[in-house]
């Protein structure tokens, strides 16, 4: 827990990425663009240090921009009320957070994963949502939970090395009374699936670079056929979302959120330019 510290709030600055000339990397910058591919969004994050990238032709741009402004000026707030920050950035309160959450599961064992995924499926089916959407949300939740149980507790905080726990082992339990948390929230437009783990061991620079590499080289070329994870989970998550929020407080908490538009065809959904928000590195 020694690495945890209060995140510093800054005054947002807006940078038009289409102008071609980029200012020096600044954590207060919000990159604005149109029609960037997932690879390009990741390039601006990894190579140019942008923490917030909002696309004008992405889903619900105005709300994304407001959310980005909030998170630049008050990044702590993301960890306190993530759903309100994403879905109602003009009203970020505990009450609003609670009103948005439709599913909230704490977990400390790999054996709980299946039950949580079934709960997600049942809830979304009860709302009459399409099978393709339910499959996408379930796939993201699966990778989130898997990461929280099989990766987060075992990453060396000094070297960032992940020993690659065998997924075929018997039940894995989080030790020391720790628990992860799976959250789902939605309004009429958008759904957020999120997962929090109490380790804060994810290196976001490596994480983003890995996703970018998978886009560039293809999943088959980057897949791990040895022990541990397949190395595709982060790509599956990123691919499914119209907006991604990745937050880490070192050695304290990792909070990953993926938003998916509702009431929209799959074809429209997957072609939406993505937004990206990185809270602390």
């Amino acid at each position: 827990m020694s690495g945890a510290r209060k995140l510093v709030g800054l005054t947002p600055k807006f940078v038009d990425l289409m102008l071609g000339v980029l200012p020096p990397s600044d954590p207060a910058s919000i990159g604005l663009s149109t029609g960037l591919s997932p690879q390009d969004i990741l390039r601006f994050a990894t190579d140019h240090g942008f923490n917030h990238l909002c696309q004008k032709d992405g889903f619900n741009f105005d709300r994304e921009l407001k959310s980005a402004e909030n998170l630049v000026s008050n990044p702590e707030s993301f960890f306190e009320n993530p759903m309100a920050n994403i879905l109602s950035p003009n009203e970020v309160t505990v009450a609003q957070e609670q009103s948005l959450i439709c599913l909230d599961h704490f977990f400390d064992s790999s054996s709980q994963k299946r039950g949580m995924l079934e709960a997600i499926g049942k809830y979304l089916e009860s709302k009459g949502l399409s099978q393709t959407l339910i499959e996408d949300v379930s796939a993201v939740a699966d990778e989130f939970i898997t990461n929280a149980i099989y990766n987060a507790p075992f990453i060396d905080p000094h070297t960032n090395v992940n020993p690659g726990l065998n997924r075929m082992d018997t039940e894995i339990k989080l030790k020391g009374g720790k628990a992860g948390r799976l959250l789902m929230a939605h309004d009429d437009l958008q759904l957020v699936i999120a997962c929090e783990d109490p380790y804060g061991s994810l290196n976001l620079d490596q994480y983003l670079a890995k996703i970018r590499n998978t886009y560039l080289r293809g999943p088959a070329a980057t897949m791990n056929f040895g022990s541990g994870g397949a190395g595709l989970g982060s790509y599956i998550i990123f691919n499914a979302g119209s907006s991604l929020y990745f937050g880490v407080k070192a050695a304290k908490v990792t909070l990953l959120c993926c938003t998916i538009p509702l009431r929209m065809s799959y074809k429209k959904r997957v072609q939406l330019p993505k937004h990206l928000h990185v809270i602390h590195r």
């Binding site: 099978q131 796939a139 898997t146 999943p219 994870g229």
Partner: protein, 157 residues
């Protein structure tokens, strides 16, 4: 949903029906397919596949005897996505007999999965989609995939 593989001989072909989630809990033991020249994987019952499941699937398929002629049928969208996304998800000589294509109605928000079969809705890499797919209210539905991506595997086959 737990994972299971059920063997169902179908004439000279051995059909393996896969059901449930393909993930770290899936028991991908080598199937007893001795003597079967043609093995058909019926994937209609596959409800999910995660990143570890993709890897285990590839290992399992690669371990099938080299003399086996492999076919897959009734592939749900989650499997078609993997075939297109992950090179080597299916062996190069594997045949796709049929697969599902999602259709969506903008007016009702409803979705249907339509089975495309070789020789009917697709043939030699070309798509011959059914002319009219309608929702329960009789409204026309639109094919809900990016065709260049979703049918990519047919061009590669």
């Amino acid at each position: 949903m737990g994972f299971a593989i059920e063997k169902k001989p179908e004439g000279a072909r051995m059909v393996l029906e896969l059901k449930g989630n393909i993930d770290e809990d899936a028991n991908f033991a080598p199937p007893d397919i001795a003597g079967a020249g043609v093995v058909v994987l019926d994937l209609e019952g596959v409800s999910a596949i995660n990143s570890v499941g993709i890897r285990e699937w590839i290992k399992w398929v690669k371990a099938l005897p080299g003399s086996t002629q492999l076919s897959v049928r009734k592939c749900p969208k989650i499997i078609v996505d993997q075939i297109n996304m992950v090179a080597g998800f299916l062996p190069a000589n594997a045949k796709v007999e049929s697969f599902y294509v999602p259709y969506y109605s903008d007016s009702s928000g409803s979705e249907k999965m339509i089975l495309f079969e070789n020789g009917k809705e697709f043939k030699e890499g070309e798509i011959h989609a059914p002319p009219d797919v309608k929702d329960d209210a009789g409204e026309l539905m639109e094919m809900d995939v990016i065709e260049a991506k979703y049918f990519k595997f047919l061009k590669n086959g």
